[in-house]
């Protein structure tokens, strides 16, 4: 187990290194693009361009340029957004993180509970009309563009039906920190949570149903039945538990990806000022330093979550340790 962890961590370090190299190539070495001009945003002055060339050592050798980029992202954290009045980028990302975490945690709670309900219900109701019905609904959920669902949700809850008793509790778009007003925090996030979770309920519900149906034919389930355990116990303790393995590993990956900027579209549509929204604003201003930092931090987060998932997985299931 220890060798597995060490090998996995060494590999993680290597991936992190390669990711920074790729980011460096995208932002500083794209053929035909002058990095200083790109970083400076719209209509830069000659003085700003000169500053950037010095800060990132653009006339120095490649390894020096790479190290200067890494220094400004991780060590001195003084990466400056030129499009946004010289705001320091890294503290800004740190300040935006709680909003993204609130959004993703709540949605994750909803989608895990609902997906288990959908998957189990569809598997149990196999042979009735409800199984195909649930699967069609799941497929529709998977096929709808998430930002569009968000806009339709806005149209209903902020426009058409906002003045009726159904949705009068929905506050205007935006995010209120939990520490400031927990009630408003909750009311403002309910619709974004539901919107974000729809896709994953469909995806996970389908996967779980397939896994349950597959597990139901396994020998150990038949043994459990033969022992005279009640159907409910067979389902909860034997079938569902084994079927959840794929579910859990998928969850780790999707959760990581969402926190690392995947919730961008939802944040934009609902005006939640999280990490994704920050990236979106940076995009509108062609603010490359902010995008550079969110990509690096986002990718790091995903790689670390993946490493944790893998190690947790190996701890649960000894069969995959040697690989």
């Amino acid at each position: 187990m220890l060798t597995f962890i060490i090998r996995r961590l060494l590999w993680t370090v290597l991936v992190l290194f390669v990711i920074t190299v790729v980011v460096f190539i995208i932002f500083f070495k794209t053929p035909g693009v002058d990095p200083a001009r790109a970083i400076a945003g719209r209509n830069p002055s000659a003085q700003v361009l000169q500053e950037i060339r010095e800060q990132f050592g653009l006339n120095k050798p490649l390894p020096v340029q790479y190290l200067l980029m890494m220094k400004s992202i991780f060590i001195s954290r003084d990466l400056v957004s030129y499009s946004n009045q010289g705001v320091k980028v890294v503290p800004e990302i740190a300040a935006a993180t709680p909003a993204t975490l609130s959004l993703v945690f709540g949605a994750a709670l909803i989608w895990v509970v609902m997906a288990i309900a959908v998957g189990v219900a569809a598997a149990l109701l196999r042979g009735t009309v409800f199984d195909p019905l649930l699967m069609v609904l799941a497929l529709i959920g998977v096929s709808a563009p998430v930002f569009w669902v968000g806009e339709v949700a806005n149209l209903i809850t902020q426009g058409t039906w906002h003045d009726t008793f159904l949705f009068s509790w929905v506050p205007p778009l935006g995010y209120t920190p939990l520490t400031q007003n927990p009630g408003l925090w909750f009311r403002g996030l309910v619709i974004p949570w539901i919107t974000l979770s729809i896709l994953y309920i469909g995806l996970y519900g389908r996967v779980l149903r397939a896994n349950i149906l597959e597990t139901q034919n396994e020998d150990f389930v038949r043994t459990a039945r033969a022992k005279g355990i009640s159907e409910r116990q067979v389902l909860l303790r034997h079938t569902l538990r084994t079927s959840m393995i794929t579910f859990v590993s998928l969850f780790g990956l999707d959760f990581g990806a969402l926190v690392a900027g995947g919730a961008l579209l939802i944040e934009v549509v609902f005006g939640i000022h999280g990490v994704g929204y920050l990236t979106y604003q940076a995009l509108a201003n062609l603010d490359l330093p902010t995008i550079m930092a969110t990509v690096v931090y986002g990718a790091f987060f995903i790689v670390l979550v993946n490493a944790i998932v893998d190690i947790g997985y190996a701890w649960l299931d000894p069969r995959i340790r040697p690989t």
């Binding site: 998977v142 096929s143 563009p145 930002f147 426009g159 995947g262 579209l265 990236t279 490359l288």
Partner: protein
């Protein structure tokens, strides 16, 4: 017992010899019997045909050119001539509001967008870009992934290790952030780019297609490489080696035909994924660039009109939903036809 019953049902046909069918014919027959998958295919083809007919609709039915702004235009509603951009309107009665849906195919069927363009005609033109970028990037992605997977799986060892690690790194990037970084970097140059002898204009549909293809290569690479590894040590490959076949022959005549079905199963699901990704990137204004329109850009244009003219945003979303849904259903059908034993593992 079940086998006996089946034999009884087949009936007395002692004279007819067993007809050999190749696996593709069998798969085709299974797919043709799957009514739901066929309906999905029909829906998808209908959307493709409608999108291809965009210029015909714009010219002969709607009589508009949907690309230039049309702030001073007029149209006919219930026999009366009205301005496309109306004073007041909406809840606040301020400024100009584009005309809403007339539900009359000849005159601004779905209304006008914020600069007075016919949304109905734009929707069909948008379908062309969305389908082109979606299908183009999915095909590019599958081709690239298959080539890399064949090389990695066939040569194994160091080659496999290096290629697989590269794929792992691309896979580790957040999908949207990676696409956004590449697009923004390229968008800072509005005059287009010179890749060697190739000149690409900044509004070219190739840019989003290539970017989307690139970020999804690892998702196709993994299953295809798995299939290559499963095939590469089979006896028929050894037999071919014994006959003196070269690497090229082994890869293209022995291994490739046995992994093509994996790629074909993935293709409709990839197109579904790439169409969704294209719409998301276009919504964020880093996908399809003006003067081209796509379903994503129309939804984005409609955001400012969401509460006054919701159909500008709703209609393209329905088109995306129908297209992606039909592809997902078709993808399920193709998978069931080509690999009846497959578990539900591929998720788009």
């Amino acid at each position: 017992m079940a086998t006996l019953l089946e034999q009884a049902e087949v009936g007395p046909e002692p004279t007819s010899a067993v007809v050999g069918r190749n696996p593709w014919a069998l798969a085709g027959r299974r797919l043709r019997r799957n009514r739901i998958a066929l309906a999905a295919l029909a829906l998808f083809l209908l959307i493709v045909v409608l999108s291809l007919a965009a210029p015909l609709y714009a010219k002969y039915v709607a009589h508009v050119n949907p690309f230039p702004p049309n702030l001073n235009g007029h149209t006919v509603v219930n026999g009366k001539v009205v301005a496309v951009m109306q004073q007041g309107g909406g809840t606040l009665h301020l400024g100009e509001t584009p005309i809403g849906p007339t539900w009359d195919l000849g005159h601004y069927f779905l209304g006008a967008d914020s600069v007075g363009r016919d949304v109905g005609a734009l929707l069909l033109y948008g379908g062309r870009s969305s389908l082109l970028v979606g299908i183009g990037s999915a095909v590019l992605c599958c081709l690239a992934a298959t080539v890399v997977a064949l090389i990695a799986g066939f040569f194994g060892g160091v080659v496999d290790a290096v290629l697989s690690r590269i794929m792992d790194v691309i896979w580790a990037f957040p999908v949207y952030l990676l696409a956004i970084s590449i697009s923004t970097e390229l968008l800072t140059h509005s005059n287009g780019f010179q890749f060697g002898p190739l000149h690409v204009s900044a509004s070219s549909l190739w840019l989003p297609a290539v970017i989307i293809a690139f970020i999804f290569v690892p998702y196709v690479y993994r299953p295809v490489r798995g299939q290559v590894l499963a095939v590469v040590n089979k006896e028929f490959v050894e037999a071919s080696v014994a006959q003196g076949a070269g690497n090229m022959r082994l890869i293209f005549s022995e291994i490739l035909p046995n992994v093509v079905s994996t790629v074909i199963v993935l293709l409709p699901l990839m197109v579904a994924t790439t169409i969704l990704t294209e719409s998301a990137l276009s919504f964020l204004s880093v996908g399809v660039q003006p003067p081209n329109v796509s379903w994503g850009t129309i939804i984005q244009d409609g955001t400012s009109l969401l509460y006054t003219r919701p159909w500008v945003s709703i209609a393209p979303g329905i088109m995306i939903l129908l297209t992606v849904l039909s592809l997902n259903v078709l993808g399920d059908g193709v998978r069931d036809a080509l690999d009846p034993r497959a578990k539900l593992r591929i998720e788009g």
